[in-house]
Every structure is written in structure tokens, then in C-alpha cells.
Symmetry: C2
Subunit: 405 residues, 2 copies
């Protein structure tokens, strides 16, 4: 079966590599068919690449090739990926993607178009890289009401936090190391500000609860305010700081979904996810907590997820997968700061006496080198808004939600 | 759609409960259909149960009811479950099961019969309880050559080992606590001798590599030889002792598969799986290591996996899932003791000098209360047969393989 690849960057070139190196496995899964890459779309030249005959700069070469029935979109970004994907779907081709930005922004429209045209739009690689999560969640969902999800969804920030926690590196040094190792882009904004994790939260929430969640509905806070002092205080009580995407179901018309640093205690399966690895925890009312762990990014892991989707699409050219969701209402994602009660880690310029007056008996944390006018403590469970009110007149340095996952 | 449940024990009664309590979720997944339990087969009486009208002691009531198209087999054991399942399949009914013993012993025949009769035989709940593993593995397999698998597959033994490691309980006390908590049977043999884990290894190996592996091909060692002394020594170097099922692929005609205690070091995702939880790690050549974690047993988690399979079978009454495998050759599972090289933990009555003569420079471990004539150490990587030869004339107390997962 002829297939095409759009975007020959890290993931796209990995897709071509996996297709070529896994012919026998693919043959077994499709029941005899192989995938044959007939076009690679990229505006750049790759003079040293052995696939010269396959390169094209003209999208129409793929669109108009009637023999191509499955296309991998590994371009990233909304434009022109959206336009290309929509045209392919309308032309009766299935599209599989690793492009979380596109699925988070335009998944609803693309899935509707796919349904209308009887083709598949699959996106396993868009969340958790190589970790199978979309289908397992689908499986969990069949006999569970999902109560919530929490995930370490961005490998770059998890690498930085791991280096801060395990090696005492500063944020700046850890970021530089991530860049030197190729884990972080030159412009790391999308990672460290949480935008990448936000897109994945949108996809997970849309899939879990059947209504599209857009990035602008998800309050997003990155890790740039996390310091080694916070790491020390939380470590003193067995906690680690992780960038988490958290989703909670209230009812059919109401969920919360946000990205922020969170204190995770050592009993959690999310506490031991280190380096560039990702993990997604799904909490069901019957199954309890199940957790999926693995490489959240990287050329071959992500490419293998894209190719698995291509195999699936190839097997189901005339049958649609059930993935899909509806439009949500305006206030579908509520302000988590007003409703979600959790303990909070607080660090402030204050005395223990002043804190006790505000919070009653709390657990004070200690660190080496702690200034005499600095306190850190863990509050009782309350909403973030209640916390803010209580701290109104306190010189607060940082607050971090303690997760219940 | 009418369905039946055979065996009204813990899992079977959970299946009925999940079907009744999750009607709206199930409806969504089937596209409008509900599952309606029309028969419950059990030889026992349940006078206080509200489903009196559904109980039957006669299997033929299910077999001959043409309206029943999906049956959950939650009886356990090979007989009469095998006979019943085969008859149902031949009558054109799909069967889903949590019965690992039956799948491990008779999976090949039942899957062949299901194929022949155009129905499904699904068994997600037979490995890892509520953890989705069969389908995710299927997904991983589509674009990966699986190199190996390792799993904590039995919650009872993991609970016992966790209590020994975390609370310093003896094996006997931890076993008693497991029994008091309902985690272990009165006769705990199947768990503590590793037979339960062995069956799950058979299913995982059969699925991963396409050839049936039978329980008698899987060398199986339980945890009854593990003592608090072993726990202390391994803890001194950041290791924990876990009962692992380990599977390794060599080539199409050669795998290893065995169950034994193993030393797991703290970097591993398997090291932090505690209590009754299970985890399965799959190592693929493209994706790397992915790990699936969750409740490995329990009424509702396992039942939710059974019901998810029922939903799947209900959606695909006229279309078979691809699960299936062939007969393996006689020497398909090789003697892992002869081929697999790993470091080993060794505890012996000997002097450090004697050990150095046999093993060269090794890492000696220490524990509080260590007798002066006792040593414990970690060897270099070697086969278990090589280790045995080296220790031929040493008064060895225990040896445990260090896993590379």
C-alpha cells in the first residue's frame, strides 16, 4: 500500500526509517501488505538523503496520487498542516499525525470531516510520544467512568526538574543542559511555559469526556518560577515537583483542566518518572488508577507510534475508528482555582507565628541555609482562591498545589 | 444485547455489577446498545442476591439461548470452563474471560475455534487484571520488534514482598496478613510458588511472539526462599526483590520465558510497584521501554476489563479481532539458565577471600547483624549455569538474578 509522509524533520524521517526497518512486522499486522513510501513532502532539500526520488515540494503530488490512501502528517504547527490534512481527508485519504498543536486546535473539525468522508484521522503519537495511551484509554473508558487524569506530558520540563531535584542544578543550568542534549529547542518557550503540555491536556480531555477542549480553556503555568529552594523544602517531606497536566470530571457539562507545577509525594506512580520520560495516570471508578509510562518524545519512539497508526489506518481503509468528540459548551472547563481543593506548598517571608495565625497548625518544612525570616509549609486542603485570600497580606514567594494523584 | 455470565464468584459478580452500574458508558461505546445479563451460571445458591431470576445451574440454558451472543467466563480453572467455552464458540457465541489458567493451557485451540466460527475469544482481564495490556501490546507490536517483556504479574506475592521490604515483616507474617486482607487464598500455593505468574507469562509470550507457550515450558520459582536477610542485603545497594516474569526474544524459533525472584534496582520502573499492584514493561526496538501499571486483581478492576471486552465483542459480533497465535516448536522456549547472562546476588557461608578467589573483585553487601562467616555480593554478568559451577563447592544460602529491566 502506498503511503506518504509530510514533514521530514525528526519524527517524519523516523517514520520513513521505521517503515523501512520493520517491513516484516508491518506485513504481519496488515495481513500481508507492506507500507511503501511514495512521497515525502518537505520544502527543504536533503541532498545527502537516500530517498531523493521520493521528495517533493508540491503538496498536490500527494493529494492527486490516487494510489496513496494513508498519509503521515509530521509537519507540526497549525498551518499549513490543517489545510493539507483537510484536503487529504476530503479526497478520501486517511491521515495519521504526531501534531498535538493541530489536534488540540482543530481536532473536532478534522475528526468530523474524517467521519463524513469515511476515513480515519488518528493521533496516537500526539500524546505521550511512543506510549500507547489513546487506545488504552479508549479501552478503560468502555466500562469505567473516568474520574480524572494526571500526566507528566512534557519530557523537556521533566528532564529539567529531574536535574534540579537529583543533581541540585539550577533551572538555568538544567535548561542549558537540556538544550545541549537536544531535548530542548533554542527557543524553549513552548516547553518551559507549559504550552506543549497544555495541548496534550486538550487532547486527553477531549477524548476522555467527549467534548473538545481548546488550549485557551486550559489555565497553563510553566516551571520558570520553580527554584532549588522549593525543591529542597518539598524534598524534606518526600515530595518532588513535577509539571502536571490535571483533568477532573465533575459532570457532563463541567470539567477542570489545567497545567501547573505540582508537588507529588513518593507514593504516587508519577513521583518516579524521571528524565525525559512521560507518564499518564487514568483514574476510573471501577478500575482505580492505571498508569502508562514511557518515552514521551524522541525520533523512533514517536515514529513507531505514527507507523502503528498508519498500519491501523491501512487495515481499516473502509472502516472508521470510533474516535471523535463534540463541541463543548462555553463554560465547560471551569476555573479550577475556584473549585479544586488541595493542600498547597507555600513559601513566604514570614514568621511561623504569623502563619499559624492564618492557617492554624500546619506542617513547617526545613531546608539547609534557610533564612530566619523565611517559612515554608503545607496547608490543609483548600481552593487556590481561598489560599490567595488567606495570603493577601503575606509576602509570598511561591505556592505550589499538592496533587492528589 | 443479551449476555450471560458463567461463574458468580468475585469477578463474575463484579461483572454483573459493572454492567448494571455503567449502563450509560456502555451505551455510548456500543453506539446505543446496552448489555443485558440474561443468565448467571453457578452451581452454588446465592439466596440473598437480587438476581434470583437469572441464576441457572444448567449450562445448556446459556448454550441454547439464541439471543445470547456474548458470554463472560469467570469460572476459573480448565474444567469445565474449557468444555463450556468451546461449545459456546462452536455455537457462534463470543466468549470473554478472566481465566488465565484456561488461556495459558488452551488458548491456541480456543482462538483457532473462534477464528473458524467467526466469533471472538477475548482475554484482556486474564493478565494484569484491570490494566489494559493486551491491546496496548498489540499496538506496540505494530511498528516494533519486541525484544523482551518483564512484569510484576501477581499482586499477592508483590504485597508480601512489599511488606517484607518496607515493614521488615517475615515472609510468614506477611503471608498471614495477605490472607487476613483477602489478598491471598487459604491455600496460597498458586501465588507464592509463582504458578499464577507463570500462566500470565504464557499469555504474554504467546501474544508477543505468535507461538503458544505452555505453563510446563516456563521454569517457575516462587518467593518462599526469600528471607529478610536477602531483603536487607539488596536494600543496602538500592535494590528490591520482586517476583518477575521475564520473556526474551532471540529469534523466531527461540525465546526464553521464566518466573523467578529478581533483584530490581531503583532506576527501574518496576522497582516502585508496591502492594497488590502489577506492572508490565514492554521493550521494543523502536519505542524503547513502555510500562503499564495498575491494580492486577480485585473485583471491580478485573470486572471492568471483562466488561470492556464484552463491549468490544458486542460491537464486533460479525468481525473477528486479530488476536491469535500458532503452535510453537518443541524447543521454542530455551533453558534460560544456559543462555541469559545477568549479574547475580549471592549469599553464602564463606569468607570474602574465598569469594574473591572464585569471582575476582566483586561488590560485597553488608547488613546489620551479619554473621562473621556470611557474605553477600553481586557477581558480574554470567549465566545461571556458570554461576552454579563457580559455586559448586561453596555453602550457598541463596542466589537471585539481577534483572536488566
Amino acid at each position: 500500500m502506498k503511503v506518504a509522509v509530510m514533514g521530514y524533520g525528526t519524527v517524519g524521517s523516523g517514520v520513513v526509517e521505521v517503515i523501512e526497518s520493520h517491513e516484516s512486522v508491518i506485513k504481519k499486522r496488515t495481513g500481508g501488505d507492506i507500507l511503501e513510501v511514495s512521497h515525502i513532502l518537505d520544502l527543504r532539500d536533503f541532498p545527502d538523503d537516500k530517498h531523493q526520488a521520493l521528495f517533493t515540494k508540491d503538496f498536490n503530488d500527494i493529494l492527486n496520487d490516487e494510489e496513496v490512501s494513508v498519509v503521515a502528517e509530521t509537519m507540526g504547527g497549525v498551518n499549513p498542516a490543517y489545510d493539507f490534512t483537510m484536503k487529504l481527508i476530503k479526497a478520501g485519504k486517511s491521515v495519521v499525525t504526531s501534531n498535538k498543536e493541530l489536534v488540540a486546535q482543530k481536532g473536532l473539525e478534522l475528526l468530523r470531516a474524517a467521519k463524513e468522508h469515511g476515513v480515519n484521522y488518528l493521533f496516537e503519537a500526539s500524546v505521550g510520544g511512543g506510549i500507547p495511551i489513546i487506545r488504552p484509554m479508549d479501552q478503560c473508558l468502555a466500562a469505567n467512568n473516568i474520574i480524572g487524569l494526571a500526566g507528566i506530558l512534557n519530557g523537556t520540563t521533566n528532564f529539567i526538574l529531574t536535574k534540579m531535584i537529583e543533581d541540585g542544578m539550577t533551572f538555568e543550568d538544567a535548561l542549558k543542559l537540556a538544550q545541549d542534549n537536544g531535548y530542548a529547542e533554542k527557543d524553549p518557550t513552548a516547553d518551559i511555559e507549559g504550552f506543549d503540555a497544555c495541548r496534550k491536556v486538550c487532547i486527553l480531555a477531549s477524548l476522555a469526556f467527549g467534548k473538545h477542549v481548546y488550549p485557551n480553556q486550559v489555565a497553563t503555568e510553566g516551571i520558570t518560577n520553580i527554584t532549588l529552594e522549593d525543591v529542597s523544602y518539598t524534598a524534606s517531606v518526600g515530595g518532588v515537583i513535577k509539571l502536571l497536566g490535571q483533568i477532573r470530571y465533575f459532570d457532563e457539562d463541567k470539567i477542570s483542566a489545567f497545567v501547573s507545577p505540582a508537588v507529588v509525594f513518593s507514593g504516587s506512580q508519577l513521583a518516579n518518572v524521571n528524565g525525559v520520560f512521560n507518564a499518564i495516570l487514568v483514574r476510573g471508578d471501577a478500575v482505580g488508577d492505571v498508569c502508562f509510562y514511557g518515552p514521551g518524545a524522541g525520533k523512533l519512539p514517536t515514529a513507531s507510534a505514527v507507523v502503528a497508526d498508519m498500519v491501523d489506518a491501512a487495515k481499516h481503509t473502509k472502516r472508521r475508528k470510533i474516535f471523535g468528540w463534540d463541541e463543548g459548551s462555553e463554560n465547560y472547563v471551569v476555573d479550577h482555582k475556584a473549585v479544586l481543593k488541595n493542600p498547597f506548598y507555600v513559601r513566604a517571608k514570614a514568621s511561623e507565628g504569623e502563619i499559624k495565625k492564618l492557617f492554624g497548625e500546619v506542617k513547617f518544612l526545613k531546608r539547609i541555609g534557610q533564612p530566619s525570616d523565611e517559612v515554608a509549609f503545607i496547608t490543609d486542603a483548600m481552593t487556590e482562591n481561598e489560599l490567595k485570600t488567606k495570603l493577601e497580606n503575606t509576602d509570598t514567594i511561591n505556592t505550589i498545589r499538592v496533587t492528589d494523584y
